[in-house]
């Protein structure tokens, strides 16, 4: 494993979890590819994401009991594992979002004060 991969994961951890939860909360049940496609769609600039890097986040969230996966058929009649956000996932999402907003607000205040 290269250290570059590790670095990117570390950077995305936390944010990635939040993004996945948010996606599932707004869009309903999604498979991994669906989540990845949605992320590319939403991103302002081309979001360079190896789709494989989603998996650690999915495992983590599932083990924490925040999302739940189950095998279903897609419209094109393929097997896919669909993830659904759970109740504790919903609670975690609002908790984490609030924390992020506070952090972002703090950073904003800090940067405006420094630039002025």
């Amino acid at each position: 494993m290269s250290s570059g991969g590790k670095h990117r994961i570390a950077l995305l951890q936390g944010t990635l979890d939040l993004i996945v939860l948010r996606t599932l909360a707004t869009m309903g049940p999604q498979h991994a590819y669906g989540i990845a496609a949605r992320l590319e769609q939403v991103a302002d600039h081309p979001f360079v994401l190896n789709q494989g890097t989603l998996y650690p986040a999915l495992v983590r969230l599932e083990q924490k009991g925040w999302i739940k996966g189950s095998w279903q058929k897609t419209e094109s009649n393929r097997d896919a594992k669909y993830y659904t956000i759970t109740k504790s996932g919903q609670r975690a999402l609002s908790r984490e979002t609030e924390r992020w907003q506070r952090l972002v607000g703090f950073l904003e205040k800090l940067s405006t004060r420094e630039t002025s």
Partner: protein, 893 residues
């Protein structure tokens, strides 16, 4: 909460990776398939779509690896990988694995075994609560050479009523010894003790049923009571609750049962079943008189010194009260009579402590030796694996991962060694315990318990660390990249690696020398003991047992003797009995660690004031010495007419006769007496000396009286010579012979004289056994070590040898080169071992008999054996080197 849940899931995923792995594979391929569908929809060919999907997805294996890391516990996963790898490599090299595990198992097993003994004997010596506060109230009188005096009733009263340091003081006496219990079922002989009411509480015993003794039970006028052991209650009353309403007849005296002690309670090392109140009448007790023992429980925070000071004050007070001015023939002040209180656990453990520590040190050395040997093996192996490590490093393995591999290997070997060692220890313990027999007091429970198991586990981890340390230290100096290039094709190896190996070898030989010297000394001791003539022959064919005729049954002493006479006749009629006799009282047998002495006067010789010569006293029936086959040196032995005719006759032992009258013949017809005024007793015979107090002690002077010629109780030890001795059938015949005369009598303290003889050597034998086992194991390990190192060096210097031979070197020279080297190392090892042995064997002094710790023969023999076996162990591989074909070597090289 959610992170806890995740932690457990990760552990679950570690142990059952299968389902999650399959689920992941399925999910990833479905993901790729969905992407391919999408790209095809956008108009790509299937081929392009597959490539594109892979690119968008990123590294598939990498993603799976991330998945695994998140899902499971990566550290454990890697450990599992390393373990699997190590198993594979060890399986490929089973010789190495086997030798390493067995070597370690020997070391760990031995150390664990000894630890279990130390654990049982030194760390938990007594099953009593607060044992650090229980004091054995011993006394001394150094001024007259008396180191150890017990206690006495007057002293007990003095301490009980005047001390400021004890919570409670009690007094006990086992003068009753074995008693005959009747009243329910067959009469039975049981061990009894008399205790004042404080004794059981001091030992922390509270009855499971009924009550313990109270002060009122100690009063002579209170009705007799008894407390019984749990085992006795179960055995004789089947554990019935109504036992408290019953009476028990002890030596013919009915006693009310008032309590049953807990199952775990032990009265010191004695298997006591019957506890009776020790009824003392203060007005009848004198000072100084020593009979029985006192024990006490210290108040919290009081030291032993403070207690001794307080005791000394009370002894002075008693001396004043009883107007005692002299003791042991000198002024009281000079005699120095005073307390010598000791913690009870010190007394019970006694000099076993030094033995055990010596053994423990010995075996710890053995473990070190085993570790040294295995690390030498590991070291040699890691040398040959240099090439492998170099390749691993070249393809990107960090130093850490190679070290991890070495550590895993060491831990695996260590744990395997630990498990096998524990099994070995468990098995050996069974053997040793049966060999040691009654030598270890039975309150000491030597078992492999949780603590011992933990100890063994710690040992294996420790040895694993030691094992992996050496090759790991070695790792940084090994130039990994150079290793690849040379591929092990160096002509000579670096000197620094050989220096470590040589140091190990020297250490091993030094340890082996020390251990072998220890076992050599024990072997010589054992041999010296075997050479000692105990004073009797074929003791294994002499059955002994105790039989008490209770005073309540027969009070008159002549009547007692007539019954004993009749019993002897009945026993003589039992098939297979060659000869039978008895010795009165419960302390007359040789080697029973017991006995009584009496001072004597020689007719026509004035006695020196203050010093009376003494002899051991035996009160015997006819044929006693004939039955033991103690030789009658001159004169005659007793006959029944001496007894019933109350003749004033006596026998003395050979050493007394020589000391007092110059020769055995001269002693015949001479007279001695127990009091200066007589009655005078004529010496009618002289018998051989008997080692009454064990083989290591000199044979004491003995005078033997005929029954009725000296006061004795209704208790006696019977000795029966027969080739059937020791068999259960024979014992039943003996019991039936006794019962045919009186149904109330029963046999007790059944053993053969041979067992007593063996027991007197048991400790020596056990020490010898353990030292011999560890010594020979050490030698074996050392030799394997030498053989291994020389073989290794030979392989390593293969090319050099080839070149030497090609240049005209002689076979003998090459051979000698290796042997000389090994001998040099052996020489250094012996020199170091000699110093260590001289220091360590001094600790063994108390264990030795007939030789000094510096016994030259032992040292010389061990030295020669060590050097000779070293020569042999190095000669074998060296010969292989010397017969190398130089052409072959140089061609391949």
């Amino acid at each position: 909460m959610s992170s806890l849940r995740r932690f457990f899931l990760r552990i679950a995923a570690f142990f059952r990776p299968g389902p999650a792995e399959r689920d992941m594979d399925r999910e990833v391929s479905s993901h790729l398939a969905l992407m391919e569908d999408e790209f095809r929809r956008r108009g790509m060919t299937p081929e392009e779509a597959r490539v594109m999907a892979r690119r968008e997805f990123g590294g598939v294996e990498q993603a799976k690896e991330f998945h695994r890391e998140e899902r499971s516990l990566p550290f454990l996963d890697r450990l599992r990988q390393d373990t699997r790898y190590t198993f594979r490599t060890l399986r490929k090299n089973p010789g190495f694995a086997l030798v390493a595990v067995l070597t370690l198992a020997l070391g760990i097993g031995g150390t664990t075994l000894l630890f279990s003994v130390v654990n049982g004997v030194l760390l938990h010596p007594l099953p009593y609560p607060d044992q650090d506060r229980i004091v054995d109230l011993m006394h001394q009188a150094p001024g007259v050479g008396i180191r150890s005096l017990a206690s006495g009733p007057a002293i007990y009263f003095g301490y009980r009523d005047n001390n400021t340091v004890f919570e409670a003081v009690g007094h006990w006496h086992d003068r009753g010894g074995e008693v005959t219990v009747t009243g329910r079922g067959d009469p039975e002989t049981a061990r009894s003790v008399e205790v004042t009411h404080e004794v059981l509480p001091v030992l922390g015993a509270s009855p499971v049923l009924g009550r313990s003794f109270q002060s009122v039970d100690d009063l002579p006028e209170t009705a007799p009571t008894v407390v019984v052991s749990y085992g006795f209650w179960q055995r004789r009353f089947d554990g019935a609750i109504d036992v408290l309403t019953q009476t028990l007849s002890v030596n013919g005296v009915p006693r009310q049962i008032i309590g049953v002690l807990p199952e775990s309670f032990r009265f010191f090392e004695y298997p006591v079943d019957i506890f009776m109140p020790h009824k003392l009448r203060r007005s009848e007790e004198g000072f100084p008189s020593f009979s029985g023992r006192s024990i006490a429980r210290l108040k919290k925070g009081v030291t032993l010194e403070e207690a001794n000071r307080d005791g000394a004050r009370i002894i002075r007070m008693l001396a004043e009260q009883f107007r005692v001015k002299r003791f042991g023939g000198v002024e009281l002040e000079k005699a120095g009579l005073g307390p010598n209180f000791r913690l009870l656990k010190e007394r019970v453990v006694g000099d076993l402590r030094s033995t055990l520590w010596i053994l423990m040190t010995t075996v710890a050395m053995l473990l070190l030796l085993a570790c040294a040997n295995v690390s030498n093996l590991v070291l040699a192996r890691s040398q040959t694996r240099r090439h492998e490590f170099a390749i691993r490093a070249a393809i990107g393995a960090g130093r850490g991962s190679i070290a991890r591999l070495l550590l895993t290997e060491s831990v695996l070997i260590g744990l395997a060694g630990g498990v096998v060692g524990l099994a070995l220890a468990y098995w050996t313990l069974q053997v040793l315990l049966s060999a040691a027999g009654a030598d270890l007091p039975d309150i000491m429970n030597v078992t492999i318990d949780g603590r011992v198991t933990l100890f063994a586990l710690a040992l294996s981890v420790l040895s694993a660390l030691i094992l992996s340390m050496l090759p790991m230290l070695h790792l940084p100096t090994a130039n990994l990249a150079a290793g690849v290039q040379r591929g092990g094709r160096s002509i000579t190896d670096g000197r620094e690696s050989n220096r470590g190996r040589h140091a190990l070898m020297v250490a091993q030989l030094a340890l082996a020398f020390t251990l072998l010297t220890g076992s050599g000394l024990m072997l010589r001791t054992f041999d010296a003991l075997r050479q000692v003539d105990p004073g009797f022959r074929e003791p294994e064919r002499v059955q002994t047992f105790q039989l008490t005729i209770p005073p309540a049954l027969v009070a008159d002493s002549e009547q007692v003797v007539r019954i004993q006479d009749a019993i002897l006749d009945r026993i003589a009629a039992v098939p297979g009995v060659i000869s039978v006799a008895l010795v009165a009282n419960d302390d007359g047998l040789p080697m029973d660690n017991n006995g009584r002495t009496g001072g004597y006067y020689v007719d026509g010789r004035p006695s020196t004031e203050g010093f009376l010569p003494w002899m051991e006293v035996q009160v015997i029936s006819p044929k006693f010495f004939e039955t033991l086959q103690t030789p009658l040196v001159t004169g005659r032995s007793f006959e029944w007419a001496d007894i019933y005719g109350r003749r004033s006759v006596v026998l003395v032992s050979e050493s007394v006769a020589r000391k007092e009258w110059g020769s055995t013949e001269a002693a015949l017809g001479k007279r001695i007496a127990l009091r200066p005024t007589g009655p005078w007793l004529e010496i009618v015979g002289v018998m051989g000396d008997v080692h009454h107090n064990g083989l290591t002690e000199p044979a004491p002077p003995v005078m033997a009286f005929p029954l009725l010629g000296y006061p004795s109780s209704g208790t006696a030890f019977f000795v029966v010579r027969s080739s059937r001795a020791g068999t259960a059938v024979f014992l039943r015949d003996l019991q039936n012979a006794v019962w045919s005369l009186n149904r109330e009598l029963s046999l007790g303290k059944i053993q053969t004289l041979g067992e007593m003889y063996q027991r007197s050597m048991a400790r020596t034998f056990m020490t010898l056994l353990i030292l011999a086992i560890s010594g020979s194991t050490a030698l074996l390990l050392g030799l394997i070590g030498i053989y291994g190192v020389v073989s290794y060096v030979v392989t390593q210097r293969h090319r050099e040898i080839g070149i030497r031979l090609a240049l005209g070197g002689r076979y003998g020279e090459v051979l000698w080169m290796f042997v000389r080297h090994a001998l040099l190392l052996a020489g250094i090892g012996v020199a170091i071992g000699l110093v260590a042995a001289i220091a360590l064997t001094r600790l063994m002094r108390s264990q030795l008999f007939g030789i000094t710790p510096l016994d030259p023969l032992t040292y010389a023999t061990v030295g020669v054996v060590l050097v000779a076996t070293t020569a042999l162990a190095s000669y074998l591989p060296a010969r292989r080197a010397a017969t190398t074909n130089p052409v072959e070597v140089l061609q391949v090289g």
